[in-house]
Subunit: 429 residues, 2 copies
């Protein structure tokens, strides 16, 4: 972790840079897989599952019995933990439902919005070493609250064609309507296009490696929406002299272990806290099973000393972190100063892991500076808000002349006519 | 307008198709302009303004005096109309601000969301024959309500370098912070990259031709967000025997005059209404200044008779129209049945023009079937919702063990440690 003492404001832009990822150009590969899926459906999906995952499954869909049998193998203690997390996520996300509110903008002109769940959504859960069942909760729970009718899960099988029990348990608990043992580009392609077994969805959610990311970009060309632009995970901690360096170190490492391209930033107005945190990191990292990954991520990472907490907050807003921990005295009072961040954790006991799993907030968040313009996933991500209006005769008489004047000035005569023809009748009554 | 009586459900998918637009591949051109702007800034922007708009302006930015002088030339009657529209749009959109709501998901675990305006937004207003000042209102008013700090407007100049007075009047009225006489690809490129005069923005809004659409796609690669995927405008009307065919015809024509690639759909359970509406269209279209455009759009358009209103609603949901007029008896009672639409107009007096200009709802809406997964523009489009959490010692003791179990099962030991290190201290107290 590089340390940087009192950088000038001119140096901030460079310090806010994310590590450049030498992304392979995967456009051609994704286009090829998508084209084959368009032509051959399930056969193409099975073929690429053979190539990329080393197994050609007998069937892409899991039966209800397979899901139930798999889910049952989740240890009881983990089941209880998942249930606790579910209850909190559900409670927080349920409050996001917008109540219908009819606004009479002019007497006789009633306008309102109504929320509708996106009918079919696809959730992608990566395979690999760790089964990300927590992401099933973070995506399926808001989908269910939003009223999505079909919530379809795709995740790559292991070499025996099996899916991790905890993923199936989480799926069962959260109203997932179908599970497919399909991963990678072919999963995203199937969800974007539709095959004999896998229905075309309206929106695709979920994390993934560079193949999945490229495939989600390609899916946009097929009229399917996606959750968020992808990027490596990141954490920024602002710590003052009340912070416990061991806690700060543990938090930074919890982010660093995600991947070699993760980035963590420590900001402080205290050189002592920075020095002690770096010492604690050196000590703690040694005991981690994912030590090699964390060490690589720390190479991209920076500890920065600034004159005041106010400057730390300015820097953080310029960086726009996915996760921001304010580990300082009276952390709440700085909340208003935060303009760009995905999710904010206040105080010594609000560790990022809490939001990753069980406090109730969502862990699918904007990375790579996208917190400047995007929100994290919420119930909003699974709904459309449709505007409605009901205009009475009196209402149209009140606003009609303004519409006529504006339409005429925009040289849209037929727009004007639609009002004039009605106003004329009303005058004649 | 093609008429289709009682199509079978198998024919619906074809009837829901939008006209295919033979889009030029503009990727290379947009990439070239963006690259030059990156290299030469304002000089490149001025150069392309010369090439595409036939004028090299003395300065890209309008001064406050130029804006005020231009705005003043807006006729008084039009100023009053714009003010009425502004008041209604403001009233409707102000109600969209979400109140902060703290949810205690577990005792000691407080979670909430706070909205922040996206700091810098760019609004693009096309030039050409008609000055779309109404779109200034539809984008700048929610931006201002959202609390965006900089709201930047780009619009192409005429051959004398001037901007239409009504656009400047609307800009002045709605808190636009800067106006640039720049259009097309070079405007979007400047907003995405930033130049000496034009600041880089976080999100770009607004309609445009295929050049602007292609440039907005390219802007996504520069880390800038955009409002909505683009597509030609469209209207679907469901009319029963209580509808006035003259009104229905006027509404369909108001959409058809937008562009030759617009599409209008009439659905009815009454052959008589369809026949009378088609007659009224033939009569009304003759008097339109944009008759040629409307006639071309009508070639892409369909009048469809179905057995019942329920079937009409099913068809409409399958089509997912940008605008939907329910011109039928007790229109309100069908509102719940609508699952996919951008904006809905209920009854004989709720014409689409009302929503286009002055009722208060937004007119920037999802086209081309995107109403299945996207909402129209609202205050939501100009904000990010940041999640916050504050966890007490007791809170962490309550949810900590669940986090530890889940992190361990996902093989993320450092995530677990961040909790364990704190719980251990709390046990020792």
């Amino acid at each position: 972790m590089k340390t940087c003492i009192n950088p000038t404001p001119q140096q901030w832009a460079a310090l806010c840079q994310r590590p450049q990822i030498a992304a392979e150009n995967l456009e051609e590969l994704t286009r090829q897989v998508f084209t084959e899926i368009q032509r051959n459906g399930d056969v193409a999906v099975a073929k690429y599952t053979g190539i990329f995952d080393g197994i050609v499954p007998n069937s892409l869909a899991l039966t209800a019995a397979e899901i139930a049998a798999g889910a049952q193998r989740t240890p009881a203690e983990l089941q209880a933990a998942i249930q606790l997390a579910k209850a909190n996520i559900e409670k927080f996300h349920t409050a996001q439902i917008e109540q219908k509110q009819i606004i009479e903008t002019t007497p006789g002109v009633a306008c309102w919005r109504e929320s509708r769940g996106i009918e079919r959504v696809g959730i992608y859960i990566p395979g690999g070493s760790a089964p990300l069942f927590s992401t099933v909760l973070m995506l399926a729970i808001p989908a269910q609250i939003a009223g999505c009718k079909e919530i379809i899960l795709c995740t790559p099988p292991d070499k025996q064609g099996n899916i991790n029990p905890a993923i199936l348990y989480a799926a069962q608990l959260t109203g997932i309507t179908a599970v497919y043992r399909v991963g990678g580009i072919q999963a995203i392609g199937a969800l974007a296009i539709g095959t004999q077994s896998i229905p075309k969805v309206d929106k695709i959610f979920g994390p993934g490696n560079q193949y999945v990311t490229a495939a989600k970009q390609t899916a946009l060309n097929y009229g399917v929406a996606i959750d968020l632009p992808a990027g490596p995970s990141e954490l920024l901690v602002i710590a003052d002299d009340t912070a416990n360096p061991e806690y700060v170190a543990a938090d930074l490492l919890s982010q660093a272990e995600h991947g070699p391209d993760s980035q963590v930033i420590l900001l402080s107005n205290s050189e002592v806290i920075v020095a002690n945190t770096l010492k604690a990191i050196d000590k703690q990292v040694k005991a981690l099973p994912r030590k090699e990954i964390a060490l690589k991520a720390l190479q991209n990472s920076k500890a920065i000393v600034l004159g005041t907490l106010a400057e730390c907050l300015d820097f953080s807003n310029a960086y726009a972190p996915e996760h921001l921990i304010l580990n300082c005295r009276d952390a709440e009072k700085y909340g208003d100063k935060i303009t760009n961040a995905g999710s904010v954790f206040l105080g010594n006991y609000s560790c990022e892991s809490a939001g990753d799993y069980a406090s109730g907030t969502n862990h699918t968040l904007p990375t790579n500076g996208y917190a400047r313009s995007y929100s994290g996933v919420s119930v909003d991500s699974f709904i459309k808000k449709i505007t409605f209006q009901k205009i009475s005769k009196e209402g149209l008489q009140a606003i009609g002349p303004a519409i006529e004047a504006m339409a005429a000035a925009e040289q849209l005569q037929a727009h004007k006519n639609a009002v004039s023809i009605r106003l004329k009748d009303l005058k004649n009554v």
